[in-house]
Structures are given as structure tokens and as C-alpha cells.
Subunit: 277 residues, 2 copies
């Protein structure tokens, strides 16, 4: 193959193709190869599969290298069309089905392929996820300190340290109800844990961040303001970390972590169970 060009990659599924993307991306990240990817979800019928096959074949012909295809399709006649394309096709789920069939001693009975779909079985869990999103929005940024009895975790931290995205991710991915409360500049002279939060000590979780990264993030929003100055960021982070230590609030430095990592670390540290969707 030609190492100087990017390799084309297709993520294809009869569902959302999110699983194919995530797994294919994980596998490809192990190789020092540049890629150029296209995602094709909802390839559910023969007609669309034939169009996809034509797209793969055309790209193969144009580039002279066969595209990598990570796919997952349940219906055999649709799957077969993809397999007959000129791509290098890897069924992301099937590789694990055969060994599992032997272990379980049961034949697979795939129905519609809806890893991320709604079914009678998961509608209750799904509604709980949506309710968790509503909860996160209603208790974002200290909007309301009522309803903390219903929180599973209450995130604390300075403005722009990652509280809101983390709360939303906890709700969206795991159905966990997270509130968040910001410490603002005016609090800093005499920083205290709000009285309303004291009864919830066991639910509190602090986020902190390197002042340099915080200043860079704040600069994006309010260039050259006091709010975004390194001096102010250092002051706020220092005060808030001291408060976390005084009150023995568990905390995490979010600087080098993605929202997925922050959210899963919080669940792990607090011993909260993930709701699987």
C-alpha cells in the first residue's frame, strides 16, 4: 500500500453506526496510519446496501487501495452485499458471536439490530436517561439548590472547569442524576461551602483544573478580562482546592481528561452504578 496517502475507512451499520465508529476508531488508533473516514448508518435494505457497495468500489478504484470497512449488519442478504464489495470488510460484532455461542450453548437470535434503539424492554431505562438530562439542566450552574435529595452526585468547581459537560454526559450516557454548583469570583474573599449543600457531603464531588488551562479556556469567552486572567484563575483554583481539602470533598483535576474520562472516574470513585442503555 501507499503509506503517504490516507487510508479510506467506512463505518457501516444497519443502526446508528456509533458502535462501529467507536470500535473501529479504537482499533485504528493502534496503527500509525492516517485515515479518512465516512460513516454510513441505517443501511437496512438491499437497495441502500448496493449503493454503499458501489461507493466503496468506486473509492477503491480511484485510490488503488481497498478501503477498510468496519460494519455490523444483522440481515444476511444486506450483509452479503457489503461483504461482496471491494473493501477490506470486518464484521465488528460477528467476531465475538461465535466464541460466545459456544460458551453459552445457545444459538444467537438477532432481531433488528438496535444497539442504540428503543424497545419495550429498555423504554423505562430510556425515560430515566431523559429524566436525568432534564435534572442536569434544571440543576446546572447552581440554578436551583432544591431537589438535591434526588441528586446522585453534586459537582462543585470554578466557572469553566467542566461541570456542565460532565453533568450532561453522566445523564446522557449513564442515566445518572448530577447537579452542579459553581464557585464564582465574588465567593472568593470568604469561600464557604453553601449551607444548602452541607447535608449532602457524601454526594459532593469537586472538579479542579490547572490555572493555565483554565485561563486559556476563559480567554476564548472573555478575552483580556479579569475573569480570564491567570492571576484570577490561580486565586480561584487555589481557594476552591483548599475548600475541597477542608471539607474532605473528593476531587479530580480535569485538565488532561475528556468528559468521558471525567464522568467514568467520578462513577468509579463514588461507587455509582452505571445504567446500561
Amino acid at each position: 500500500m501507499n503509506m503517504t496517502t490516507e487510508r479510506s475507512v467506512f463505518y457501516i451499520s444497519d443502526g446508528t453506526a456509533i458502535t462501529a465508529e467507536v470500535l473501529g476508531h479504537a482499533v485504528l488508533s493502534q496503527f500509525p496510519v492516517g485515515t479518512n473516514s465516512v460513516t454510513l448508518p441505517f443501511v437496512e435494505n438491499v437497495q441502500r446496501a448496493q449503493a454503499v457497495k458501489a461507493q466503496i468500489n468506486a473509492l477503491c478504484q480511484k485510490s488503488g487501495v481497498r478501503p477498510l470497512v468496519f460494519f455490523s449488519i444483522v440481515t444476511p442478504e444486506v450483509r452479503e452485499i457489503i461483504l461482496q464489495s471491494d473493501g477490506f470488510c470486518q464484521d465488528i460484532v460477528q467476531a465475538l458471536v461465535a466464541p460466545l455461542q459456544q460458551e453459552l450453548g445457545v444459538a444467537p437470535a438477532p432481531e433488528a439490530h438496535r444497539t442504540h434503539g428503543l424497545t419495550a424492554n429498555n423504554l423505562g431505562k430510556y425515560d430515566a436517561r431523559i429524566a436525568a438530562i432534564d435534572y442536569a439542566l434544571a440543576h446546572d450552574d447552581g440554578i436551583s439548590l432544591r431537589g438535591m435529595d434526588d441528586a446522585q452526585v453534586i459537582l462543585l468547581g470554578v466557572s469553566r472547569c467542566g461541570k456542565t459537560p460532565t453533568s450532561l454526559y453522566l445523564a446522557m450516557q449513564f442515566g445518572v442524576r448530577a447537579a452542579n454548583y459553581p464557585f464564582i469570583a465574588d465567593d472568593m474573599d470568604n469561600l464557604k461551602l453553601p449551607t444548602a449543600l452541607r447535608p449532602y457531603q457524601h454526594k459532593l464531588f469537586g472538579l479542579t483544573i490547572d490555572p493555565e488551562r483554565l485561563a486559556a479556556i476563559r480567554q476564548e469567552r472573555a478575552e483580556n478580562s479579569r475573569y480570564a486572567s491567570l492571576r484570577q484563575c490561580r486565586l480561584e483554583v487555589g481557594e476552591v482546592e483548599a475548600l475541597f481539602r477542608t471539607h474532605q470533598i473528593r476531587y479530580l483535576n480535569s485538565t488532561n481528561y475528556s468528559v468521558e474520562e471525567i464522568a467514568t472516574k467520578i462513577l468509579d470513585i463514588m461507587g455509582l452504578t452505571r445504567r446500561m442503555f
Copy 2:
């Protein structure tokens, strides 16, 4: 194996374990077997791996059936400990690495295992995702009709048809900037497309929902209100669908779809590219 009890499943990773969960769940959904799962992220060192191995072995002994283990760990000595447990261990990534190595003609060079991690390479994309979340929140529920130039999609629909979770998911998962605008009861007498939205016809996307499901969702929030009555839900949905048709706004009935499915269908229909994180 004993078919009457649930089979224990472990999702284990040196990262967030989100990929292991999603893929394992997809594979298991093909089998008519009840499961009982535990997720163990950040198994990054020998000490934690040994604790996990002990946990797997204890459960195996207690239940008399070996637990299923879907895992992904890069460091060989940590991986080896999991493989030596009494579980039925499936490496979710490795199964695809070998064929890919042959196809690419390059050896894998796994570094830290951070499918959902922050690196110098993806920090820009990550910041764009966080900016997309900020955008979705600032343009949620018609809060602001300014800044529509920056929207990639503007979702329209009645209250509680799924606009907000969809906007947030588009931002969180795909870094897509989505605004949303609600049609409320007071609009219904003379339903019009707001003047401010008319220049953005090509970005508009409608969500609709079955009135029965809508009434059930609204009942959860405002029992026995006019807002939650089936009559009102029917009226609003009918009016809004008519508006979508009049203005040739593409739309989707969200009733039977999850937020993942709605979001990916919108990207697909509108031809928007997903940002891979």
C-alpha cells in the same frame, strides 16, 4: 450452564470501558440470555488487575459458572492477569488488530489506551465538542434566535418531543452545533414559522411525535393539565406537522427512536459530517 440464572458479565478496560460496554452489550443482545453486568474502568496497573481477577474468580466460585469478560487493556502484564482469571475472556479490540495488521502491513504501536482520552492530536476537536455543548445550551428552547448563522441544524417541534436531548447529543457525540426552537400552545391559533428562522430554511429540521406518547411524557411533568391532555397534544402535533409540510421542512417522527437514532438520522438526512472524537 444453568439457563434459569443470569449470567455475570464484566466490562473491563484500562480506559473508560465505554467501548467494551457498548460492544459487549451489542454482542450479548444477540443471545436470549439474561445478564448481570459490572463495569470496571481504569484497570491500569498490576495491583488493580489482581483485585479484578480476584473479583472474577470469587464470582465464578460462588455462581459455579464462569463470568463473561469483555475487556481491552494495552499493557501486556496487566492484560495477562485478566486473561489468567477464571472468566471467559474476550479481548474486544485484539480480534480486529491481527487481520488489520496484515492488511496494513504495519505493526500496531499501541500507546496508552485512550479511545476516549485527550491527546495533543484531538484537543482541537475536543474543544469544538465542548463549544458545541455551550452552543446547544445557549440556543436551547428558543432562548436566543441570534447566532443562527453558526448553527449546523435548527430543530423545531412542540414541547417535549425530544429537541433538547437531541441537540445535546449532537454536540456531545458529534461536535455538531444544534439550536432548537419550540412551538408553544399560544402559537397554535395562527402557527407561523418565525421570521428570524426563514433565512435558515436549509438548516431547519422538524421533530414530531405520536400524540399519545407526547401526552404520556407531558403527564409526567404536569398531570391532568391542558398541556398534557391528548386533545391538546393532537392539536399541536397536527398544526406543527402541517407547518413542516407547508414550508417543506424535513422532519422525523421521534416516537420510536432513541436520542442516538434521532441524532444520527438527522445527520444522515441533512448530509452533515460527524466529527469523530
